[in-house]
């Protein structure tokens, strides 16, 4: 067990952000945390990374209590990418990536092969001498990913990576490129816990999913069990249908218009004087819903 949470609750200023989260993550698993905005995903990542102490419950990293680990030792065991990362002063991309060596006390020269490898893997060859602030949002995100990958590749023992929305600013090609990179590392023993909003990305690359709602676990487990319409609807209040990806074979989620959207369509329809009955608008999806594909 690389990371274990027991009955973790977090209260800040009288508001309960997390309630009774149990989690046990084994080496080499790729976990996704999903849930609607404000469900407590980032709070959970912060708690698991030792940044926020639980008001109740305990978290263990490699059989040691997180509260008793000094920050340097923690940094040698795991890397964390937070959600918002602006960098002051115009550091070069390469300097930023090299910061990943800091907790391990390895000089840059000794790790130059590894640095070059990661720069290529993240597609940053041409950007490495640019200043970080001159990059686009997605490029900045990849630079930070490269940094945490470097940090984790020198970890003592089994490496662990915690990522808060690592793909939110990436285009579709880069999303898949980065997640493929992560899952190839997972094959080699890396453990990943990532917040990913796009359920289809999660379904394609993760092997375990935890659904959060209002700070509580809705469901958690292997993705084959988690990717069913009832759990997703319960989490988000959004009707979905689950299909099978035609080529990859993993679960694939399609959203359906929910009642709220119907109201909007109706209002718009009346305003434009449309006489089209509302029912026909949702007809195509209604047909799909009668084709259960979850089997």
């Amino acid at each position: 067990m690389i990371l274990e949470a027991q009955e973790v609750s977090i209260k800040i200023g009288g508001k309960t952000l997390l309630r009774g989260i149990d989690l046990s993550i084994k080496e080499g698993e790729f976990w996704t945390i999903a849930g609607c905005n404000g469900a407590g995903k980032s709070t959970l990542i912060r708690a698991l990374s030792g940044d926020l102490h639980p008001t109740q419950g305990k978290i263990m990293l490699k059989n040691r209590w997180l509260t008793e680990l000094p920050s340097l030792e923690m940094a040698q065991m795991r890397a964390v990418l937070t959600q918002h990362n602006n960098v002051n002063f115009s550091f070069k991309v390469r300097d930023l990536i090299t910061l990943g060596l800091m907790p391990h006390g390895i000089p840059e020269e000794a790790a130059s092969d590894k640095i070059a490898e990661i720069i290529v893997e993240c597609g940053l060859e041409e950007l490495q001498d640019r200043s970080f602030e001159s990059l686009s949002g997605g490029e900045q995100q990849r630079a930070h990913l490269a940094r945490v990958l470097l940090q984790v590749s020198f970890s003592k023992g089994d490496p662990l990576l915690l990522l808060d929305e690592p793909t939110s600013a990436l285009d579709i090609a880069q999303q898949h490129r980065m997640l493929q990179l992560l899952s190839s590392r997972v094959m080699n023993g890396l453990t990943v816990i990532a917040i990913i909003h796009d359920l289809n990305l999660a379904a394609q690359y993760a092997d375990h999913i935890l659904f959060l709602k209002n700070g509580e676990t809705v469901a958690q487990g292997r993705k084959q069990q988690m990717m069913c319409s009832s759990i997703i609807e319960k989490t988000y209040g959004q009707p979905v249908s689950v299909w099978t990806h035609p080529t990859v074979g993993c679960p694939y989620i399609l959203a359906e218009p929910c009642p709220y959207h119907h109201e909007k369509v109706k209002a718009n329809g009346h305003r434009h004087g449309s006489t089209k009955p509302l029912n026909t608008m949702s007809q195509p999806w209604a047909i799909n819903k009668n084709n259960p594909t979850e089997a």
Partner: protein, 355 residues
């Protein structure tokens, strides 16, 4: 003209770190030689060599008055300029790192304002009570009072501003600086002409108080502080990404911040105690170094020391020689150099933001 200028800065930028260091080191050496020769007392190389060999004991002859003046007034003054420049510039770089703000200067932690307040109180009230003679107050009580005031104000700001956000700390700094300013005003209002004149000079910064005795007191304090700031260069690099990322890279953020503030207060407190409040060095020098060496704090703190001492030495040499036989307070010179440069920096930032 403009294009040529840009090419020039790129030329320096593209040089390897060793060459850059050589250029800056050479500049400092040149300034030290220049400063030791120029001034009311003009000294040739032979005289300098003779005076030094006499003082070590190679020559058995007595030192002449000129040589003694050079050894005991000029040389400690140069050493003080180097030390104070180092203290202010390194502290500035460290402060900008821990507050992740390029506009912060060492004075923000309140050390200058606190020192000025205590110095004003010491000058005005002690002179009035005339328990001690003026010389004793100026050379012994004033530095000690300034040092204590600086540390006290820093401690107060730290206690007030301790918490999650940097904004809180900066606000506490503003509040304590304002309170000190008001109290200084009150003391100055109460002061007589002589005290007022002494205080004004002290407040503008003045390196003429240099003596070997004062130097032996502050040298270790400043060097230890600068050494601590240099040793934390990796932590400062990590802090550029924010407290949380620095924590995840293994930096004990609260500890580093607290100790950095302590050592900045120690270094700047020592500098202010002997040399008075000298502005702009701590603010401007780190920016200049960043332009040439980039933002990495390993080079930033090292070369801030080099460039800070060069700049202050240059300013002090100018202030000694410009209005002979009188002397300009060096704070006026640094401000006159620093303010236009700062305006240039602001304009540069503006144009960069729209690129």
């Amino acid at each position: 003209m403009k294009v040529a200028n840009q090419q020039k800065t790129h030329l320096i930028k593209d040089l390897s770190i060793g060459y850059k260091a050589g250029i800056f080191g050479g500049l400092l050496l040149f300034l030290v030689i220049l400063a030791s020769q120029m001034g009311v007392l003009q000294v040739s190389f032979e005289e300098m060599g003779l005076a030094m060999s006499k003082s070590i004991g190679w020559h058995s002859e007595e030192l002449t008055a000129r040589e003694r003046a050079w050894l005991n007034i000029r040389l400690p003054r140069i050493a003080l300029a180097l030390l104070v420049g180092t203290a202010l510039a390194c502290s500035g770089a460290g402060m900008q790192a821990i507050f992740r703000n390029p506009l912060v200067e060492p004075g923000l932690v309140g050390v200058s304002a606190g020192a000025a307040l205590f110095a004003a109180v010491a000058l005005v009230f002690l002179q009035e009570m005339s328990l001690f003679n003026d010389h004793f107050i100026n050379y012994y009580i004033l530095p000690v009072a300034a040092f204590l005031g600086g540390l006290l104000a820093t401690w107060l700001i730290y206690k007030l501003g301790k918490g999650q956000s940097i904004a809180l700390f900066i606000l506490a700094g503003v509040a304590v600086n304002a309170a000190c300013g008001a109290l200084i005003g009150l003391v100055v209002f109460h002061a007589d002409d002589t005290a007022l004149r002494s205080f004004t000079f002290w407040n503008l910064g003045d390196l003429s108080g240099a003596s070997w005795g004062a130097l032996t007191l502050i040298t270790p304090l400043i060097l230890i502080s600068a050494g601590y700031l240099y040793r934390q260069h990796r932590a400062y690099d990590a802090l550029a990404m924010g407290d949380r990322q620095a924590f995840h890279l293994g930096v004990d953020v609260e500890k580093v911040r607290k100790r950095s503030i302590f050592f900045v207060a120690l270094a700047v407190g020592s500098a202010v105690a002997i040399a008075g409040a000298i502005g702009f060095i701590g603010l401007v020098v780190p920016h200049l170094v960043r332009l040439v060496f980039g933002p990495s704090h390993r080079y930033l703190i090292l070369f801030s020391a080099l460039l800070g001492s060069s700049l202050l030495l240059l300013a002090d040499t100018y202030s000694r020689t410009a209005v002979q036989p009188g002397e300009l307070p060096v704070g006026i010179v640094t401000a006159m150099l620093g303010a236009p440069f700062f305006i240039y920096l602001i304009k540069r930032m503006k144009s960069k933001a729209f690129l």
